[in-house]
Subunit: 227 residues, 2 copies
């Protein structure tokens, strides 16, 4: 499903170039539940943004479902994102002038689903993450962990083939965190590929495989049997 070979990525900063990904090799098969761990600043969000077709890379190749993701027009990139991917951003990126329900329903709005149906599906997901009573709140009327759960619900609503989640439990207490992991595991059990960037060992322990990133390269992998 995801095949990455020798990906290099640098950021331009004026005359300087800062190399952040220094030759990443990674294969994730359809239906896997995988976590990515690594120190703050090691390149996890950068890698996830490349997987999410949200950012370019300078060298190497990224194949998503067999198609090379390189030099895509914005139209093609948007097509692949909308048809394959659900993304939970590290900083949530909710629309500030839409309430929680509208934010969650957004992907279905783009898919031209009727208002009645998309709002019903959005309500169901909000219930799954314990936010049924916050549906009408605007993002600035939500706590940090509530915004995070709205972002998670939004990433799942269009039932995408691949879910990319950047530290999805960072703002959650342990009980809510477990609730979210149950949701991800259920989605994975239905055949979806799930990739979770996390700092928390307890979260990684619930995934079958953990990729350890350090200084822009994959250092090693660990496997959790029965996860």
């Amino acid at each position: 499903m995801i095949h990455i070979q020798q990906i290099r990525k640098s950021y331009r900063m004026g005359a300087l170039s800062l190399e952040v990904l220094k030759g990443i090799d990674l294969t994730i098969n359809e239906g896997e539940l995988v976590s990515i761990m690594g120190p703050s600043g090691s390149g996890k969000s950068t890698l996830l943004n490349i997987l999410g077709i949200l950012d370019q890379y300078q060298e190497g190749e990224y194949h998503l479902a067999g198609t090379l993701m390189k030099n895509l027009s914005e139209r093609k990139a948007a097509y692949y994102r909308n048809h394959y991917l659900g993304f939970v951003f590290q900083s949530f990126h909710l629309l500030e002038f839409k309430n929680a329900l509208e934010n969650v329903a957004l992907p279905l709005y783009y898919q031209k689903v009727s208002r009645r149906r998309r709002n019903r599906q959005a309500m169901e997901l909000l219930e799954r993450v314990g936010l049924a009573d916050r549906a009408q709140h605007m993002p600035n009327e939500l706590s940090g962990g509530q915004k995070q759960r709205v972002a998670i619900a939004r990433a799942l609503i269009s039932d995408p083939k691949v879910i990319l989640a950047d530290e999805p439990t960072g703002a959650l207490d342990s009980q809510t965190s477990d609730q979210v992991m149950d949701l991800f595991r259920e989605v994975n059990a239905s055949g979806k590929t799930v990739v979770i960037v996390t700092h928390e060992a307890e979260i990684a322990a619930k995934t079958a495989r953990t990729i350890h990133l350090r200084d822009g390269v994959v250092q090693n992998e660990t496997h959790q049997v029965g996860a």
Copy 2:
């Protein structure tokens, strides 16, 4: 240092009123190192914002260093904030058009400290949080955990009497997290009062006292001997 009696706080939402703090009693003496835990949405950030004189409350009393914090003019509120408090926000609130160094130095700029001196102190703090090589980066050129560490450094630079930190390690890996906790403990050892809202039991375990919030009230306290 901090004395809270029967604080009640509600948010207005159109015709509705949502009561979030339902009678909080809390005393924190000078020099204590205290953590606050509780479920997502239980009122922790709301309480910390009241302690930080960033938000009002409807009933009860909040005394900071013996002075009642109620119905203060913005000028007086700003005076108390600048003279007593350092605040680490859950969503960082960095200035987007200033680099990391300038963001950290900001409190000293307001205190009219010379540029040379404030930049030197800011560099020292950036080194303490492992970000010396990111001093020139703008916030949108920093990772999530790097932004968090810039916010922490900024809260500490003016050597405030009271540090209020809202989930300061939420975006950090365990090693960087330990580095930050060492910094908080060192600051506390020098006589400062430190209040840390956290979801992580390992962080709370490093504080002498943990206040457990639930549904807008203090449920109970736990004590960690030798922390």
